[in-house]
């Protein structure tokens, strides 16, 4: 899966939780949970959607690495590359 595909899947998962999100206006370097206004329930549903779409199960211990959309995309890319 290439970076563009990962990005598409992640954004679709995000829009499933927060339909008002527009990919063009989302600032990838900003704190994701502020940029998209996700509460803890939304966040968990988002992670569940990523788990189902990409097969990547992100443990709680790694949450701190997922500060922004860019960081999250990089993280998911690394996990997929590692198999």
């Amino acid at each position: 899966m290439d970076d563009a595909q990962i990005r598409r899947e992640v954004l679709e998962a995000l829009q499933g939780i927060a339909p008002e999100v527009e990919a063009e206006t989302l600032r990838g370097d900003r704190p994701l949970r502020d940029e998209v206004d996700l509460d803890s329930m939304d966040w968990l549903r988002f992670l569940a959607a990523l788990h189902q779409r990409l097969g990547v199960n992100i443990p709680e211990a790694d949450y701190q690495q997922l500060t922004s959309l860019d960081a999250l995309l990089a993280y998911v890319g690394r996990r997929l590359a590692a198999g």
Partner: protein
């Protein structure tokens, strides 16, 4: 004969518009069965029956707007027949103008599935617009997002957001006008709770993880067993204890506004079940699809605005309830334990309570009990 009345849909909802009947005359209904769908400012509500019976007559039609408490259906009790009871009158409706002679009234168009984009369908639900009535300007007459938004603008009374704002305004004004609030705050250490939670969640996929909020709800519910004067309603000049511990969970809606539907029997349920039910409740609240019991049963409301980063929240009681618990952000803070300074996750809990129903001393002991319960998370 049972007169089935439009049940209470919460303090800020005094009328509803019938969207559809889910029952027909002659049909048997059970207690708890969804008998109708009623639209309100806050949600399309599945109205549940509170008694067993057989439907004798439906007294209002889809599209009718009636106040809470209006008889909307007549049910026969066991042993009754339609011959032995007197039929109730239908709700009087303004007379329809008769069609002018010579004109033929065209039948309603066939119920074909309207072409509508998913985004437009979703927006229509949010705005309370009936997409089926719109003529689309998109490809092949499809209803587009722009069509929905244009329709919502032109149909101001249907604007759910404005209606919700009004409903919240009415309930909160009533609260501050009638309820003498007192407020207490307590910082509760959550080291044990957070450590237990992270150990519990470590091996689990996101779908099965618990949120801290669920532990807090359970602790509040268990504490209410010992402090029943905070769990109930102030009605007709006196406190009335609620029959169960049903926590109203304040849910912020993405389009603005909030709703606090009830999570039922919180003290009796295991954490996993509460988590699943909470997830379902939040999602249905956000898609405006709730049951009437969820809108009317809450016996104390909990707001966890800490999730949005604030350190503390002192709430406005949702009448006729008599108390509200607010929870601020869970964060690591300096803490003194056994004379030593350490770092401890903690959160500020607050209690806003009705001074007619309880006193500060009682409220303080309740918060102390919540604190005590949260120190042994494995017993929650």
């Amino acid at each position: 004969m049972i007169e089935f009345k439009l049940p209470s849909l919460g303090a800020d909802m005094d009328e509803g518009t019938l969207l559809e009947w889910r029952i027909a005359p002659g049909e048997a209904v059970r207690r708890g069965q969804v008998v109708a769908v009623v639209d309100t400012a806050k949600a399309a509500v599945d109205v549940e029956c509170w008694q067993d019976g057989t439907v004798l007559d439906l007294l209002i039609q889809p599209g009718d707007k009636v106040p809470v408490g209006t008889p909307i259906a007549a049910l026969l009790e066991a042993g009754e027949t339609s011959e032995t009871v007197q039929r109730p009158a239908r709700v009087a409706k303004p007379a329809q103008p008769a069609p002018a002679p010579g004109t033929t009234t065209s039948a309603a168009p066939p119920a074909s599935r309207a072409r509508i984009s998913p985004a437009a369908r979703k927006r229509a639900a949010e705005l309370g617009v009936d997409a089926g009535t719109l003529s689309g300007t998109g490809p092949q007459g499809a209803v587009s997002l722009a069509d929905v938004e244009a329709a919502a603008k032109s149909a101001a009374p249907l604007d759910r957001q404005a209606a919700m704002r009004q409903a919240i305004a009415a309930a909160m004004s009533r609260s501050k006008r009638e309820i003498p609030h007192y407020y207490l705050g307590e910082t509760i250490p959550l080291g044990a709770a957070m450590a237990w939670l992270s150990a519990h969640n470590a091996g689990l996929p996101p779908e099965q993880r618990l949120l801290p909020g669920v532990l807090l709800l359970k602790a509040v519910a268990l504490a209410l067993r010992d402090y029943p004067q905070l769990n109930g309603y102030w009605q007709d000049g006196a406190f009335r204890a609620a029959p169960g511990i049903h926590l109203g969970v304040a849910v912020a809606l993405r389009q603005g506004g909030l709703i606090a539907p009830a999570l039922h029997d919180v003290a009796d349920k295991p954490l996993e079940q509460l988590m699943a039910e909470l997830g379902d409740l939040v999602q249905r609240a956000r898609s405006y699809s709730l049951r009437s019991s969820e809108l009317s049963d809450a016996s104390l409301t909990v707001t966890q605005l800490g999730d949005q980063g604030v350190d503390s929240v002192f709430g406005v009681i949702y009448p006729p309830q008599v108390a509200l618990v607010g929870v601020g952000r869970i964060a690591e803070r300096p803490w003194v334990e056994e004379g030593r300074l350490c770092v401890m996750p903690s959160a500020q809990f607050s209690l806003a309570a009705d001074h007619r129903a309880s006193d500060g001393h009682y409220g303080a002991r309740f918060l102390g009990e919540v604190r005590r319960l949260l120190q042994t998370p494995d017993r929650l």
